[in-house]
Symmetry: D3
Subunit: 294 residues, 6 copies
């Protein structure tokens, strides 16, 4: 019986947090290990549905790295990269879209619904949600010659949140694949972190949560005790310039900054490998990972 | 960290229950020890506010036995009872109403609001919520002579739930004092258990929860292992007839039956002396107390 | 038949006034003799319900001086005043609240409903309607030593009109007891005149009507022919400074000024001892009492 | 001052009537002397606007006998009747419509607006409000030969109240000319009494009020003391058969019966020559004229 | 079959135009030959109803020159003009209103409804739609003596579009007669072109379309090849000053300028003698007539 | 100019059809050649967007035969059929879903949006739109042994149209892939014809339009003059039994019958190889293909 009462205590402790976030919108960038490991997957889905029942409006956006590569291999396409951007010819783009929209998105939707959510999947084409244009790789300063064409890699030119607002108003959980649509109706592959930042900004979300495969951002990556709880935007820029933040972490941090610049209140980079890490971030005083702040 | 994850687990476990009760109305009869002991009081208030945040629409109804007696003593009125009904002259009725509406109701409202609820107190007069008429004591079969007048003791003749429906629609927690209003605008003292049953019936609530000071109903009161988890209405009548259910428990059981007869799905008699007993009843498989069922 | 036609004439004469006030909100401070004399009481209730049917939105706020004193006497508490403020210990506050909320408020609500209004009573705790903080007596300029503690006497720190707006939208007549609630959930006794002014200001009411026991404000109180029909705010301040306006009339005049400063169109100090004085003020050219104007 | 208080009394007396009719729809057939005499006209307009402010939804329908005849004379058309129906050739119909819709309707609308109503004029063509077909005169039993063609005289085949419901919802007073529109878009002249009955029926109005130029229906027309206050439908039929009700009174009584048969609660034939007769009927116990009842 | 496919092609070609105008309001001044010739009449009605089905909100306003003159002749009134304004005594005004509101307006409404529109006719009195005041003729510079009184000729002082907005929201086609109502409830005859300009301005319409009996405005009226497709406001003023634009064309051009000055996007002067000219203007690249532009 | 006027004529001719279908829902099964040939594709998209602008609510559902086979070939899966059902192992199902949802659906959505529609793509998982269960092949009467498992081939068990109703209410064009979701969240491949019938039934659509690659149903397939314009359900059953209707035409005819049985008004089997065939069916008297009728 004591154990039961302890359980009740946990729920009651959550009240002030629930109260704070009631009716607010959270954008969740879902990716990394939490998208591969079945048990973590289940945990994320539970966290999202619980949030919804607690009165938060979660909006999920996802990419899909490993699955895409796997499918490309299967049809015999070799991955090729220019300055970190995947060279995306029409055939590759088709595969990317099929995997994101036709496989991963529907898997997330079905899992959320199974637990009791009411999820609806969207891609950038739907209701012209994510408009995009072709992007060009940022070449090194000393680069000469013609900038190589990376194909259907795009950057966001605008987000029309109407359909998301309507889905939220009808109590759905929108699940969005990071595909953009060009003026001409052509699809573009958009970095999911970047898209998440733009989406949070456009929705003026309360929170942007980036699920990753690290504990957060470290002052010194070697020293596990140097995890930064709250990272000032200014300091983030310095760390990028100094190379302390690098690789795939850069678009994540930049997404947070984009969001903050457009009125998002809090942005979090959270360890998706930790079970229920989102729930803990939201419903306890226990700060998880790194919060990027103005 | 393990402890934290365990906490998350508790929340996640609650999902299927939350899902079931989302948007449903629960009528809670608040009384007994849970209305006197400060820490239990706080627990009940937390449970109610949490319910609200979880999407349940709690409607609270309360009586106020001991506080009324205390105030009557203070102004030098002596309590007098006929067949279990308090003889209620005009002066007594005024005191009853002042204590219920002016003291206890506002205390509950203020406490709920302090935790983050949006509570609004009502009495039977407000928007003609609880209409009542004078009641007469049920005298023993062999009684002769004139039936004694018990004064302003009333029975419910109708409940107009309009104001409650509107408050719920605007996300308030209605808190109701069990006072009824007669055709002529006169106030009547109504048994709070009975009023709770009528209210649950009128609202076609999902659940009626009666907080009491016992573990529930026992087949044999001496034998603590004979607690009845689910009591059939038919069996309840037998137990009343045999005197196994007696005294103040009778109106509680009858309130449950009234509610069940008007489409209320579940009715519970719960031990209010157990911290967070309501939350446990709602959010776990752990059945608490006695459920009265059709 | 001529008499009948004359009656119709009275109704028709009222048209331009009705037209002017259609859909507007009037805050009515109910108090004084009109709250004690049964026949005046009935008159005020009729006026309020008629206003409602004529399309005005009356909002009633009341205090309750004599009844409170009477109840305090009954439980053996002696009234004590510091600079005109009643010293209000916890026990006194409880009595004040019980009388205002549990007795007078419900009596007004029941009476209005009996005539055909749909009234709902509220106290400052309900939906956190009137937020307050502890007040301190204003001591004479030459006062030395520690300012005496007057206990639970409060001043308004904010009014959240949401619940009133919703009740009005649903065609109810809100009836409000002048009790405020502190940050900590504690109740404070608020001067009803002051609360009326704040309420009218917060609602941006069309009119604030203060029912009192005098004909209005006189230039020279001795000279009954010196009644001031329209009192300029500036002149009001002078009269207060010169002591021409004094005692309980000061908070009434100040309430009018507060209201005027927040966009209330007209404020009236009206003789509640005159039958149907409110109706006459509203529906005829006959100015009653003193109008305080910018 | 006594006179003023008496005025207030008149208003207060009206409360129970106002309460009863609040939000109800009254169909008013406006015609006869009250449409010619300027001062009676003004009285009727005042009554209608006051009703609106009192929460009643008045719907006005009018004919226009004398004005039509006058205009026909002016353009040199001679009136010709067959069995009481005006022979209405295309040119006559045009004049009828111009007078009703272009003159009288606009005059009523302008007068109502001047007093403070928000009136909107409609004719049967507007939103296909009154659909009609050609009618034939009812010839005597012994009539032989071809039934004469009375031209554009119509009978109601259907009323689509949508536009009226919308105008009422937006607080307008609809003012309707008794013109019907045929399948082919052609206009028909409809007896205004008959149209009023059909309209009240279609709207399921609370009341149908027919303004006429007599005190009401008399058992014996010679004996002014034999005015029938409440006329049973059955008795009405007898009186028509016996010729006690005759001429223009027949369609009025039949309109009342039509209305009663479709759920209209009360139907009144009222003396429009008596100033404010409608107001007296509605707001006093004084029954005016004859009420036709089921 | 080829012909059928060609038909489909016509519809498909219209898509981009439909898309542009979806949900926009067009004010159509209906007059001239298109109001007299039966087949052109039918064409205009079809165009308006089709517009409505295509998602445009047409608002029709009409005058009625020749029909008025004809009716005045019929009752023996002689037309008299001062500086181009018809001298309108009370009797004339009555005839004007009867013809416009009672005849032409209802004819338009009935025709639109017959094709499948839901039209509702209005005059300036309805809901105080067009408020007006008496106008005075603009006398020549060298005029001396008293300015002649032209009677009930009015100019617009205000337009309250509330009723139109409500009718549009309920999918009706408003059809408006150019009659204004004065402060005193008196009717004024308003130039329909001018009223159309004011109406388009008040509605912030997307387009104002003036149907006339000429191809448009010519640089040189003799030279049919000099039709001006797009006329700058500035140049329009020059042409008026130079007398290149004269007579009845002046108020039409001024109406366009009024509209443009209040945010109307496009204004067109179109040849109403050309079948379906409006439809062609709206649904094809084929510019018809003269567009007046900022 | 004559040509232009002819164009206007085409639009005007369409009015009665537009009027009939205004606000009605049409379910369109998109498939066959019209899904492969680029110019036909464009034609179908134009027809759908035009319908939308004309006030019809089109709901598109599609399958994707050839593209699926192509993709399966590409990843080296061989197609295998049992009684006409594709044996669908988990890997095949994944490919089917990726092609339908991730490729074809998004292509349709993007094309519709490019022309000016507001399309949103959905799959059966979204908001649990199409619920399904595993199906079993119907084996020949003389079949013995165990029925072969065809894997993830499903049949519809329920359609929840809530999300579609909401999208329609917000003016979107829903585009649906014929994938169903099982109790356990697993995806099933559903025959798109069958799904279209169920969808039309669930929506109580006005029309079900099946785009195919034949002119319609022939009494005698050899005799091109024997096209059946209107096929009675009873006769359809006979033709199926006699083998006159066979193969892929059977589910199409059955879909029509399902729809008719649930209140769909008209069902059409139309030649998608004919440009704008849908538009012609809807907006002209020209019946295209075969209409299946009760």
């Amino acid at each position: 019986m004591d154990q039961i009462i302890a359980k009740a205590g946990v729920l009651v402790e959550a009240i002030p947090y629930i109260r704070t976030f009631y009716g607010k919108t959270f954008v969740i960038k879902y990716g990394g290990n939490a998208m591969i490991n079945e048990s973590l997957k289940q945990g994320v889905m539970q966290d999202i549905v619980l949030m919804k029942f607690l009165g938060v409006n979660p909006v999920v956006i996802h990419g899909g790295g490993p699955e895409i590569t796997q499918m490309l291999n299967r049809v015999g396409k070799k991955a090729q990269f220019v300055q970190g951007l995947r060279v995306t010819d029409a055939e590759t783009m088709e595969i990317v879209q099929m995997v994101l929209v036709g496989k991963l998105n529907k898997e997330i939707v079905a899992k959320l619904n199974l637990i009791g959510g009411k999820a609806v999947g969207l891609s950038g084409q739907d209701a012209n949600l994510i408009r995009a244009k072709k992007t060009q790789p940022t070449m090194p300063a000393d680069f000469q010659g013609e900038i190589p064409d990376v194909g259907f890699v795009g950057e966001v030119t605008g987000i029309d949140t109407t359909i998301i607002d309507q889905l939220i108003a009808n109590n759905y959980i929108p699940v969005i694949s990071s595909i953009g649509v060009g003026e001409d109706g052509v699809s573009y592959n958009i970095n999911a972190d970047t898209a998440a930042g733009e989406l949070a900004a456009a929705l003026r979300a309360e929170k942007l949560i980036m699920l990753t495969d690290v504990e957060g951002i470290f002052e010194n990556y070697e020293d596990k005790s140097s995890l930064i709880s709250a990272l000032q935007v200014e300091h983030a820029y310095e760390m990028i310039n100094r190379g302390q933040i690098e690789g795939g972490m850069i678009p994540k941090v930049q997404a947070c900054i984009t969001a903050l610049n457009h009125g998002v209140n809090r942005t979090h980079i959270i360890d998706g490998r930790l079970m229920h890490s989102m729930l803990l971030e939201i419903l306890t005083d226990q700060g998880i990972g790194t919060m990027v702040v103005q």
